[in-house]
């Protein structure tokens, strides 16, 4: 199923030289292109990104240098029927995540039923006891979700991880499309591609629907950690596109139970906050007393219904790696049906049988810390030396419940433009999902991240990853 020796190429692995069906028209277009000119356009696109300021800050960079994420101009194409399948699976998964969050912050049926061990909830750092017994409007916890999906074959899609806290990257999805439209209008005339540009409007609508029902025309704002945050461009982009204020924690004040900002004409209330700051920096009174970033009293105002926060504090437990291993069970428990999208098989090292298997096959597996992210504290078995394997094995045995293991996947590839012409590189996909009391909506496509280094499986922008425009074709 997922042997690492065969890599599936989404463009080229078709029945004949014309490539796979969704890419045929693009392939014939590519045949007519002058690659020197394409490379020049590629440089122009990156120059445009810089001038528009689609940049991110690199933490720890002394010069405060801003960088752009490399943009590859060969699009990634998803057929209509492939997308329908993905979309159904994503909606099911996100619905289950919200049901799960509602349950663990209320009656905890799933623990009582013995599906998930209680310790996994209560000892989890992302679990927020302050949220117990509180019901956000419409029972929505994750208003914005990013579901990372990888592909290994024509019909094999897996969810790599869920991002239920503050997923980012949606501005790249939109800007990549805008750039492609400008550079290659003829491709949009010859393909019927589903639009992504109305995402900010959908986000606004979704947030407004999620406000407390007793507020008419809620004042919505985006909350950012500030201009030095790596995703600041995205925060300002979304605020701009939605036509709402972009705030920092110090702009907000809780006065007489209401959340207000100090304006040039006095004060104004804030009813809905799309927060792009982590839980622990929201409110020093409730979460992190050392934080200088938050707004004292914000959480109490939230619990009393004076303001709506998206996503809900404590939603992060749903994307914890230890919880991830239980996602198939979670989906079945709340949805009463089998998961439509597969999880990557995951061995929970807390279970003795699993631990034994993992220790025996360490050289073939990827082992991750359950609370880790960004690739830290991870072992990639096939790339590790004997000594590294031995050292990791000791760490693993010392604290098995801190780890999960997964097989190494042969991620699908899509060609990118290089100096030597087209070359296949590994990709993943992050579709963006909006949830409101009125329903779940997935923007067709998402952000395709691509590992620009040959053979690399790491798509993170901090480690040499780039992005592509992602097309979902009309049926």
């Amino acid at each position: 199923m997922i042997a690492a020796d065969h890599m599936f190429d989404e463009m080229l692995d078709g029945p004949d030289a014309r490539g796979r069906e969704p890419y045929r028209s693009l392939l014939s277009w590519l045949e007519d292109q002058d690659f020197t000119k394409l490379r020049k356009q590629s440089a122009q696109a990156e120059d445009l990104f810089r001038r528009i300021g689609i940049t991110f800050n690199v933490y720890g960079d002394e010069d405060g240098e801003e960088r752009i994420i490399p943009f590859d101009l060969i699009p990634r194409i998803i057929a209509a029927d492939e997308w329908r399948r993905l979309e159904r699976g994503i909606i099911q998964r996100v619905a289950a995540i919200n049901a799960f969050l509602s349950d663990i912050y209320h009656q905890q049926e799933i623990v009582r039923a013995g599906v998930i061990p209680a310790s996994l909830i209560h000892e989890n750092k992302a679990f927020m006891p302050q949220m117990c017994g509180f019901t956000p409007p419409g029972n929505v916890y994750t208003h914005v979700v990013g579901v990372d999906i990888v592909r290994t074959g024509p019909d094999s899609f897996f969810v790599l991880e869920d991002n239920a806290r503050v997923p980012s990257g949606v501005s790249y999805m939109i800007e990549n499309r805008a750039t492609m439209l400008q550079m290659f209008p003829e491709l949009f005339a010859s393909h019927r591609i589903q639009g992504v540009g109305d995402y900010p409007k959908q986000l606004f609508k979704s947030l407004a629907e999620s406000a407390h029902t007793f507020i008419d025309n809620p004042n919505i704002a985006v909350l950012t950690p500030g201009i030095f945050n790596s995703a600041y461009y995205e925060h300002s982009f979304l605020a701009d596109e939605m036509g709402v204020d972009l705030l920092q924690g110090s702009d907000l004040e809780v006065r007489d139970g209401r959340v207000i900002i100090r304006t040039t004409a006095g004060t104004a209330p804030v009813d809905v906050i799309y927060r792009r700051v982590d839980d622990e920096f929201l409110d020093p009174l409730s979460f992190n007393p050392d934080s200088v970033l938050g707004t004292p009293g914000l959480f109490d105002a939230y619990r009393s219904g004076a303001v709506m926060l998206a996503n809900a504090p404590g939603a992060g437990i749903a994307d914890d790696k230890a919880i991830y291993a239980y996602m198939p069970e979670i989906i079945e428990f709340y949805m009463g049906e089998k998961p439509l999208l597969e999880n990557i098989p995951t061995w929970r090292c807390s279970e003795p049988d699993n631990l034994a298997y993992v220790l025996e096959h360490l050289a073939d597996l990827v082992v991750k810390e359950v609370h880790g992210s960004g690739g830290y504290g991870m072992l990639v078995g096939p790339a590790a030396s004997k000594r590294e394997l031995a050292a990791f094995s000791r760490k693993l045995q010392a604290n098995p419940s801190n780890y999960v293991a997964q097989p190494t996947l042969a991620l699908s590839t899509v060609p990118v433009l290089t100096k030597a012409g087209l070359a296949s590189r590994h990709v993943d996909l992050r579709p963006f999902v909006l949830v409101s009391p009125n329903g779940i909506r997935v923007t067709p496509g998402g952000l395709t991240r691509v590992a620009l280094k040959k053979g690399s499986l790491v798509v993170n922008s901090s480690q040499g990853g780039g992005t592509k425009d992602t097309w979902v074709l009309e049926a």
Binding site: R50, S236, T263, T264
Partner: protein, 313 residues
């Protein structure tokens, strides 16, 4: 609008205006130094003194020279008021209120910063200096054009314009104040009419050389220069012109917010004093005192604007 955002808009415009003004002063001093014999460093020293950078310059350089002055004024990142720092601060403020700006306004600032920091990476070759200064000045023009052509003329616009004109008035007052002795009626006698370059450098630094000549048929006279720079309502860098704009923008804000402000009253009082000065003969009122009390009142006005509109981080 969020008070912090208004503050960023105000300072974004101020810093950009300041970089333009500094570039114009360097332009004038450079021209002056090329058209005179010997190594005259007075003009460089004068710029550094009146912009309040003397201590910081002395801490870094033992001698005053054109090379040291250019380096310090244009590209020294540790100097908060160098052109490169001003462009960076202006852009930083713009970035923090990006969604209050149109794409064109933002891009004009971002691009000036990009080209400016590229051009100022290495010490400036004298041969490249004229083009470089022109580019910095042009950045300001493009910004103004984008501002007028693409932004809503609302409170956002008003705060930007306030920043521009408060900075511009301050700059003109500093130049006039630092050379007040050249503008006294006695100056004509003491200079013997032979060295008029001091008036020229002053007018050039305020983009007013040609317009002054045009209005005065080329006749240079200290009282005419002073009256022109301080009171002429047609001259976009005169104190009276700037205060006309400041009052108009504050009045727009008062209308938009439906209330009057103490800062509005202060601005109108300053404008009134300028009118009085024009009518009553500034020399009788005491030229130097007039300019220095103007600067003090202008500083107070900035604080009042800040307090009335909740500016400040």
């Amino acid at each position: 609008m969020l008070g912090r955002h208004a503050d960023s808009l105000f300072w974004m415009a101020r810093y950009l205006e300041r970089s333009e003004n500094l570039a114009r002063q360097i332009q004038a001093a450079f021209y002056h130094s090329l058209t005179r014999k010997g190594d005259d460093v007075d003009e460089w020293a004068s710029i550094i003194r009146r912009t309040g950078m003397a201590d910081s310059f002395d801490a870094k350089h033992d001698t005053m020279s054109m090379a040291n002055a250019l380096n310090f004024l244009l590209r020294d990142k540790t100097n908060d008021d160098s052109v490169i720092s001003l462009l960076a601060k202006s852009r930083q403020n713009a970035r923090s209120v990006r969604n209050a700006l149109t794409q064109e306004v933002w891009q004009s600032l971002n691009e000036s910063w990009m080209t400016g920091s590229e051009a100022l990476k290495r010490p400036v070759n004298i041969r490249d200096l004229p083009a470089l200064l022109e580019n910095i000045i042009k950045a300001s023009s493009v910004f103004r054009g984008a501002l007028y052509g693409t932004m809503l003329h609302n409170d956002i616009f008003n705060f930007l314009r306030l920043g521009t004109f408060i900075e511009r008035a301050d700059n003109t007052a500093r130049i006039v104040g630092s050379k007040y002795h050249r503008l006294l009626p006695t100056a004509a006698a003491s200079l013997g009419g032979s060295d008029q370059s001091q008036w020229e450098v002053m007018l050039r630094a305020l983009a007013a050389w040609r317009s002054y000549n045009w209005l005065n048929k080329g006749h240079l006279d200290p009282t005419a220069v002073a009256t022109f720079l301080i009171f002429d309502n047609r001259m976009p860098r005169s104190l009276s012109f700037c205060y006309g704009e400041i009052c108009a923008n504050l009045q727009d804000l008062e209308a938009a917010y439906g209330t009057s402000y103490a800062c509005g009253d202060s601005a109108r009082a300053i404008a009134q004093q300028l009118d009085n000065g024009r009518e009553a003969d500034i020399y009788r009122l005491g030229f130097r005192d007039f300019v220095s009390s103007f600067m003090a009142d202008s500083n107070q006005l900035t604080l009042a604007i800040s307090a009335d509109f909740n500016l400040g981080p």
